[in-house]
């Protein structure tokens, strides 16, 4: 009986699945974290897959994904989509600020404080009730050059202000690792 089960397990493992080659996909490599689309005259479009942040309160978390185009410089806006997983529906947001844990030493005196980035054009996409939480998905814009500088610090956190309340979200340890890999992969071309 046990031999039959063991044989079945070995067949399952040796089936074609384990012999498949995933082109260019190293675990936790850049290809698993981003997707690139060729857009013709506008260069490439980069999509950074969702990165998880956990909230300071229990059962609070968010996932953030980023889309931007790059040809020869980091200019214009990036689109940032955020899914909040909270015990309640987040019906409106006053502002979202992404801040670095590390002060940007390259910023010169009088220059914009690049260790903070305030998102603009915040718009709700949808609200969806789940079994344990409510998903509130929002889209916003961010200055791409500032986002690149923030990303270069390798770690940042997100503050959300709504109804005179503040929610804080910090990156998980896996997310901190991914931020560094993504910077080398898509923010390091100039």
């Amino acid at each position: 009986m046990h031999r039959n089960l063991l044989g079945l397990l070995i067949i399952l493992i040796l089936d074609t699945g384990c012999l498949r080659v995933v082109p260019g996909a190293k675990k936790s490599g850049i290809n698993t974290l981003t997707t690139v689309f060729f857009t013709g005259t506008e260069g490439n479009q980069y999509f950074i897959k969702p990165l998880k942040f956990h909230g300071s309160l229990q059962n609070n978390s968010l996932e953030i994904d980023v889309t931007f185009r790059f040809k020869d410089s980091y200019k214009g806006n990036a689109t940032i989509n955020i899914s909040f997983e909270l015990p309640y529906a987040l019906k409106n947001i006053d502002s979202i600020v992404i801040s670095s844990f590390i002060l940007d030493k390259s910023a010169k005196l009088g220059e914009y404080n690049s260790s903070e980035l305030q998102l603009t054009e915040i718009r709700r996409l949808f609200l969806e009730s789940g079994d344990k939480s409510v998903t509130s998905r929002y889209t916003a814009k961010a200055d791409l050059a500032l986002l690149k500088r923030l990303w270069s610090t390798n770690s940042f956190y997100i503050r959300v202000f709504h109804s005179q309340k503040e929610l804080n979200f910090n990156p998980t340890s896996k997310t901190i690792d991914k931020i560094g890999i993504i910077y080398q992969g898509v923010f390091n071309f100039d």
Partner: protein
């Protein structure tokens, strides 16, 4: 492995949406939704340009499906 599913005459849109589902032994899927509809909704997309599906498989134990849609 990433596979194309469809492309339309629309140029590659500036929006990207993603949806994913994971399963075990290619048999058990715990309610994940990797549909084009969900990916488009996640990206706020109403006009679809391209659809790709990425499949991952780890020793036939973990199976993942990821749908990525571009559009406007």
């Amino acid at each position: 492995m990433t596979l194309p599913v469809t492309a339309t005459s629309n140029p590659v849109g500036s929006k990207v949406g993603r949806a994913s589902a994971n399963g075990y032994f290619s048999l058990i899927f715990l309610g994940g939704d990797a549909s084009i509809q969900k990916a488009a909704r996640n990206g706020g997309i109403t006009r679809i340009s391209t659809v790709d599906i990425k499949q991952t498989n780890t020793l036939n134990i973990l199976t993942g499906y990821e749908t990525i849609v571009t559009g406007e």
